[in-house]
C-alpha cells in the first residue's frame, strides 16, 4: 500500500503554493484511517484522528515539492524560468519537463553544444538564467497556453530499483507523508488517547510557511516532524545515514531532549532500526516553524535517508518508510500511557 501511495502521489504536481489545487489525492488514502479533515488557509491538509483525552499530537510532513516557475515567454518561443525552492541548475540539463499552463505543455531543457562552449564557460557553474525550456511552439501559440507565473516540474515516472529501493521526484517529502499514512494505519490497530493531527504541510520548500500557519491552527502539545535527510553515496561524508537502516533521530537545540530520548527507548524496546544525527542549530525543516509557534511546541525530528535530494531521481528505501511509520505509532501509544507532564517538564 505504501508503494502504491508513493507512486500515486509522486506522479502528481504539487509545487509549493499549489497545494490547494492539487492535494486532494491525499484524502483518498487518509480518510480510511482518520475521522475528519480540514485545511489551513495556505493549503496544508490536516487529517485528525480523535482521541479520548485533551492532548494533541501533531505530525508534520510537507506535501509540496520544488519546481520551476515561468518568468517570461521569450520572443522565439522559449520560456525563461526561476526555481520554486532550491534547485541546482546542473540537475535540470537534459531533462523533460511538464509546464502546467492552460493545458499541459511538454518541453525539454537543453544546453549549448560542447563544440561552442568555451573553456571559461565549462569551468563556471551553470545558472538558472542561462537555461530555457524549449517547447517547440511558436511564440504566438505558446502565449495562448502558458503565462508568467505558471509552474513546471520535471517529467519523470517513479522507478522501482532493486528490492525495496525506489526512485522518483518529490520523495522529499512525500516519503514522510507516507510515513504518516503508515502511522495512521498502525494506530488504528494500536489505539491512542491523544488526538492525532496528520498534517501534510504546504510551502515548506519556500520557508516553512504552511507549518507556521497549520501549527498555529492545531496548537498541539507535541510536534513530530518528519522530513527526508541525506542518504549515503560515495561522495558524501562518513557520518551520512544509510538507506535501509531506519529513521534518523536528530539531536540538537531545536529538539526536545526528553521526547527524543523516549523515542529512542521505544525503538530499542520494540526492535525498530534507527540511526542518529546531530543538528546543532538550523534543521532546515518544519521544526523551524513549530518549535517557536505560539507559546512554543516541544518537537522531535525524524528523517528518512534519501539520496540525490532536490533532483528528479530522489532515492529511498520503502522499508525505512514502513519502519518509521510503525515506530512513530508505537511511540505515540507509549506516550499516551506515560505521564506526559513528567516527560515535558525540564
Amino acid at each position: 500500500m505504501i508503494k502504491e501511495f508513493l507512486f500515486d502521489v509522486c506522479s502528481n504536481q504539487i509545487v509549493s503554493g499549489f497545494e490547494h489545487a492539487n492535494g486532494s489525492i491525499l484524502t483518498k488514502y487518509f480518510e480510511h484511517y482518520t475521522d475528519s479533515f480540514e485545511r489551513d488557509k495556505l493549503g496544508s491538509y490536516i487529517f485528525k484522528s480523535e482521541g479520548t483525552n485533551d492532548k494533541k499530537i501533531m505530525l508534520a510532513a510537507h506535501i509540496d515539492e520544488i519546481g520551476l516557475m515561468v518568468t517570461k515567454v521569450l520572443d522565439v518561443g522559449f520560456l525563461s524560468f526561476t526555481s520554486v525552492g532550491g534547485i541546482n541548475p546542473a540537475s535540470l540539463v537534459s531533462q523533460e519537463v511538464t509546464v502546467y499552463g492552460k493545458e499541459n505543455v511538454f518541453g525539454v531543457i537543453g544546453i549549448k553544444p560542447p563544440h561552442v562552449t568555451t573553456e571559461d564557460e565549462r569551468n563556471k557553474p551553470l545558472k538558472l538564467k542561462d537555461l530555457y525550456i524549449d517547447t517547440g511552439y511558436a511564440k504566438e501559440k505558446l502565449e495562448k497556453m502558458v503565462r508568467v507565473g505558471d509552474v513546471a516540474t520535471i517529467k519523470r515516472k517513479p522507478l522501482q530499483l532493486q528490492g525495496t529501493v525506489v526512485s522518483a521526484k518529490a520523495f522529499d517529502d512525500r516519503a514522510c507523508v507516507a510515513v504518516m499514512l503508515e502511522t495512521a494505519k498502525e494506530l488504528k490497530k494500536l489505539s491512542h488517547k491523544s488526538s492525532i493531527y496528520y498534517t501534510a504541510t504546504a510551502q515548506e520548500e519556500t520557508g516553512y510557511r504552511g507549518s507556521t500557519t497549520a501549527s498555529y491552527m492545531v496548537n498541539p502539545d507535541i510536534g513530530i516532524i518528519l522530513d527526508v535527510g541525506f542518504g549515503m553515496t560515495p561522495d558524501m561524508p562518513a557520518e551520512t545515514a544509510h538507506l535501509g537502516k531506519g529513521p534518523v533521530v536528530a539531536y540538537g537545540g531545536r529538539l526536545n531532549q526528553k521526547l527524543t530520548k523516549k523515542f529512542v527507548e521505544v525503538c530499542k524496546t520494540y526492535n525498530f532500526p534507527m540511526q542518529y544525527e546531530a543538528i546543532p542549530s538550523r534543521t532546515g525543516t518544519d521544526t523551524e516553524a513549530l518549535q517557536v509557534n505560539r507559546e512554543g511546541i516541544p518537537c522531535i525530528l525524524l528523517s528518512i535517508p534519501l539520496r540525490y535530494m532536490h533532483t528528479s531521481v530522489e532515492t529511498i528505501d520503502i522499508a525505512d518508510v514502513e519502519n518509521t511509520g510503525r515506530a512513530v505509532a508505537r511511540f505515540i501509544n507509549e506516550l499516551d500511557n506515560s505521564d506526559l507532564e513528567e516527560i515535558l517538564c525540564f
Partner: protein, 329 residues
C-alpha cells in the same frame, strides 16, 4: 483621475527612514483623517485607518519607511562612519549627497582602495563639509539617520524620486481612501513601519487586524531597462499582479480574484514573478492560521537608488485595481 504630482512630491520629499516614521505618519494622517471612520497608531508605529463595513475584512498595506544610512561613529574632523538601514550597496552611493532630519547634509566618500581591494561599507565615510569640530559635535550623533538628497522630477508620463519605494504605495492608498468605493466590506488601510529592515510593522498589523484578505501595495523591478534584470514586467505595462517573490507565493484564489477584477474592469495589468525581495504580504500571509494575500506592484526602475523611476499611468491603474478589490465580493 489625474496624477497628483504635488501630493507625490510631498510624500517622497519627506524624511522618514525605517524606525523614524514620525514625519511621514503626520503627513499621511493629515491627508486622510477626514475621509476615514477610524484612525490609530499601533505600538510599533503603524498607521491603521479604517473604512467600516459589515462585510469581508480586507487589509491593504503600503510601507511608510524608506531606506537610509545610520551613523555609527563621528570623528572630530567631521567624518562620519555609517551602516545601512535597508538594502543599500556600497558601490552605488559613492559621491551621493545625503540629508539628515535636521536639514544638514553630507557627501558619501570612499577611502583610497589598494589594488583589487574589495569595496565595502566600512571603506566609506560621510564628509559633512566642516572644519569646525564644534559644529560637527553639535549636529551629528551616533544613531542619526540620513537619506538620499535628490530632487523630485517629472516628465509628462514618468516620475523620478528618491522614495517611490514605497511612498507611491502610500500615495495609491491615500488616493483610494479619498475616493473609497461604496461597499459593505470592512476595509483597513495600513501604512506600515520598518518594511525595509524586515517587514516588521506588517507582521504586527496583520496580527491585530486579522483580515480575510490582504493586499500589499509596493514597488517591483522591471525587465525593460539595460540593467540586466530578466523579468517580464515593464514600465507603462499597467498594474503588476505579483505571483511570487522571496517572501510569498500568491494564493491562487487571490491571483484569480485580482486577475478577474482587472479583466472585468478593463484595468491594464501584467503578471510579475520577482526573483528577489519581499513585501508586507510576506509576514501577513503567514499570520495566525494564514491569510490569503496578494500584492499589487508598481513597476519601478532603479529600485533602492536615489532616483527611482515610475510611470504615472501604471499608478492610476493600480489605484483602480485597489478600489475594485476593496469593493470585491
Amino acid at each position: 483621475m489625474n496624477f497628483n504630482s504635488e501630493l507625490m512630491k510631498k510624500l517622497s520629499d519627506c524624511f522618514s527612514p525605517s524606525g523614524r516614521e514620525k514625519n511621514i505618519r503626520e503627513i499621511i494622517t493629515e491627508e486622510i483623517k477626514d475621509y476615514v471612520d477610524e484612525i490609530k497608531v499601533d505600538p510599533l508605529g503603524n498607521l491603521i485607518a479604517r473604512k467600516k463595513g459589515n462585510g469581508k475584512k480586507i487589509l491593504f498595506s503600503a510601507h511608510m519607511d524608506q531606506i537610509g544610512l545610520i551613523i555609527t561613529h563621528v570623528d572630530e574632523k567631521g567624518f562620519l562612519r555609517f551602516s545601512n538601514v535597508g538594502g543599500i550597496h556600497a558601490k552605488e552611493i559613492i559621491g551621493l549627497s545625503m540629508v539628515f532630519d535636521n536639514g544638514f547634509q553630507g557627501v558619501v566618500c570612499c577611502e583610497e582602495l589598494k589594488y583589487n581591494e574589495k569595496l565595502t561599507m566600512s571603506k566609506l565615510f560621510i564628509d559633512v563639509a566642516s572644519t569646525d569640530p564644534e559644529f560637527v559635535k553639535k549636529n551629528f550623533h551616533i544613531g542619526d539617520m540620513c537619506v538620499f538628497k535628490s530632487e523630485y522630477y517629472e516628465t509628462p508620463d514618468c516620475t523620478v524620486c528618491r522614495a517611490a519605494d514605497d511612498r507611491i504605495g502610500c500615495y495609491i492608498q491615500i488616493e483610494a481612501i479619498k475616493s473609497h468605493p461604496v461597499t459593505e466590506n470592512d476595509v483597513y488601510y495600513v501604512f506600515s513601519v520598518q518594511e525595509e529592515v524586515g517587514t516588521r510593522g506588517a507582521k504586527t498589523a496583520g496580527y491585530s487586524v486579522n483580515p480575510d484578505l490582504a493586499v500589499a501595495l509596493d514597488v517591483t523591478a522591471t525587465g525593460d531597462s539595460l540593467d540586466g534584470i530578466k523579468m517580464d514586467v515593464k514600465l507603462g505595462g499597467g498594474a503588476a499582479i505579483k505571483l511570487m517573490d522571496k517572501s510569498m507565493i500568491t494564493h491562487l484564489d487571490v491571483k484569480n480574484l485580482l486577475t478577474n477584477l482587472a479583466e472585468e474592469n478593463n484595468i491594464k495589468y501584467q503578471y510579475e514573478v520577482l526573483e528577489f525581495g519581499g513585501t508586507d504580504a510576506g509576514p501577513i500571509h503567514m499570520t495566525r492560521e494564514g491569510i490569503p494575500s496578494g500584492v499589487i506592484s508598481i513597476p519601478t526602475r532603479n529600485l533602492h537608488s536615489a532616483a527611482e523611476i515610475i510611470n504615472k499611468n501604471d499608478v492610476l491603474e493600480c489605484i483602480k485595481l485597489l478600489k475594485v478589490t476593496a469593493a470585491s465580493k
